[in-house]
């Protein structure tokens, strides 16, 4: 489904509204609690700019092209939970990333 005609000079985004619902079906996906404060990104030992908050936001918004494009970041994650230690919203980030991996490895996620 298209988000509508893009404005000149902006990228066209394809929105898949049921993406978050699919992730919820796989497990305890709780990325909606993320406030996008960026503490997680600042503490990530890998220092990947899209991980985790941008990937989580894209997943919640249903931007599946972006989520699939971030596959390397998702599978690079150490699941070390350094990001969770200081998350003010208590998001279970490593479990969310693990569920994204599961989704990406399914036929649905790898189309």
């Amino acid at each position: 489904m298209s988000a509508g005609a893009p404005n000149p000079g902006t990228a066209r985004l394809v929105v898949r509204p049921d993406l978050a619902a699919e992730l919820h079906q796989l497990g305890d996906f709780d990325a909606e609690a993320c406030m996008n404060c960026g503490v997680c990104t600042a503490t990530c030992p890998l220092g990947i700019d899209v991980l985790p908050r941008r990937v989580l936001r894209d997943a919640v918004l249903g931007l599946d092209d972006r989520v699939r494009a971030a596959g390397e970041a998702v599978f690079s994650c150490l699941l070390c939970r350094a990001c969770e230690a200081d998350c003010p919203a208590g998001v279970h980030i490593s479990e969310d990333v693990r569920l994204l991996r599961r989704w990406l490895l399914t036929e649905e996620g790898s189309r």
Binding site: L26, G27, P45, L46, G71, E72, F75, S76, C77, L78, L79, C80, R81, A82, E84, A85, R98, L99, L100, R101, R102, W103, L104, L105, S110
Partner: protein, 319 residues
């Protein structure tokens, strides 16, 4: 990345489903560490290795192979390798650790068994039924395969009448204590790390150690399982002065190991960063996870002495 994620994850999940371990090694090899210990088979309390320490030399050999294949035409055959691996296990062909590497991997479970005995703990061992707990497949999201494997492990515990499991590494501890209860209905086995058991029981201080060590917390022990104070208390009781790196306890810094199977270069960079943090504090470092030990040791390349905590404790208890 080196090899396609889907093929690597697929091989690991296939192995767990077909052969009971992500990297199948023979039962004779996996139980070799116990051959001189006369441990009883089974019992209400068992020492459960989850094969983690025993598998590490094989993981290292496979990662080295993956790095050699990276960028070569052979890397494009990973899909074929997965299909072939379903018919015949490729691990014994692809990974052949040296005798010295295998012997080192066996030292930790043997040391833990001796420590538990010295502390007066009565326990048995499941030998060939001591299966890998599924950590790597779980990390990669192979949930249905891991759930089936967890039910298999739970059935083994039920068959032996196991009520309590004593684990020796953070990944097996996390799987059995936190993940299995979500996957297996009615899973009510008590799970504790040997570090928690020893800290509660106390160890004989037969040969007090001297020296200063820097401690490297495992991410899972520190942030998921609250195994933080026990190793410090045990090392102090053994006579050692424990020093802390800048990032420690709940804010410990990852060794990079979890990325090694798919992205060895990224794993090495994180490990190098952690080695620098540790080396700034002391030249001797204590680890408590097999993945941390090998990954940090590779990054240190001789500039930091790394040993598993069980070896320090065994020397202190003279067992």
């Amino acid at each position: 990345m080196s090899l396609p994620v889907r093929d690597v994850a697929g091989v690991l999940a296939d192995n767990l489903r077909l052969r009971g371990s992500v990297l199948p090694v023979s039962a004779r090899r996996a139980t070799r560490w116990a051959r001189d210990l006369s441990l009883p088979r089974g019992g209400e309390t068992v020492l459960y290795t989850g094969m983690m320490y025993q598998l590490v030399p094989y993981i290292e050999r496979l990662v080295a192979l993956e790095q050699r294949l990276d960028g070569t035409p052979l890397a494009r055959l990973s899909g074929l390798a997965r299909r072939l691996n379903r018919l015949i296990s490729l691990v014994p062909l692809a990974a052949r650790p040296s005798r010295a590497e295998r012997a080192e991997a066996d030292r930790v479970p043997a040391a833990v068994a001796r420590l538990l005995r010295a502390a007066g703990v009565e326990f048995g061992y499941l030998y060939e039924d001591d299966l890998y707990a599924g950590a790597l497949a779980h990390d990669l999201g192979a949930d249905s395969t891991v759930a089936a494997h967890a039910r298999r492990v739970a059935a083994i515990f039920a068959r032996y009448g196991v009520r309590e499991v004593v684990t020796i590494d953070p990944h097996t501890t996390y799987m059995l204590r936190t993940v299995y209860p979500r996957l297996v209905s009615g899973f009510d086995v008590r799970v504790r790390s040997y570090l928690e058991v020893l800290a509660e029981r106390g160890l004989p201080r037969a040969a007090p150690q001297a020296g200063r060590v820097v401690i490297h917390d495992s991410c899972l022990y520190a942030r998921a399982e609250n195994v933080i104070q026990a190793p410090r208390d045990l090392l102090a009781a053994a006579g050692l002065t424990v020093t802390e790196p800048g990032r420690t306890r709940e804010r410990t810094w990852c060794c990079g190991g979890p990325a090694e199977a798919l992205y060895p270069d990224k794993a090495a960079a994180v490990a190098a960063s952690r080695v620098a943090q540790l080396r700034a504090v002391a030249p001797d470092c204590v680890t408590m996870c097999p993945i941390c030990l090998v990954n940090l040791r590779k990054a240190a390349n001789g500039t930091l002495r790394l040993r598993d905590i069980s070896e320090y404790l065994r020397e202190g208890a003279a067992c």
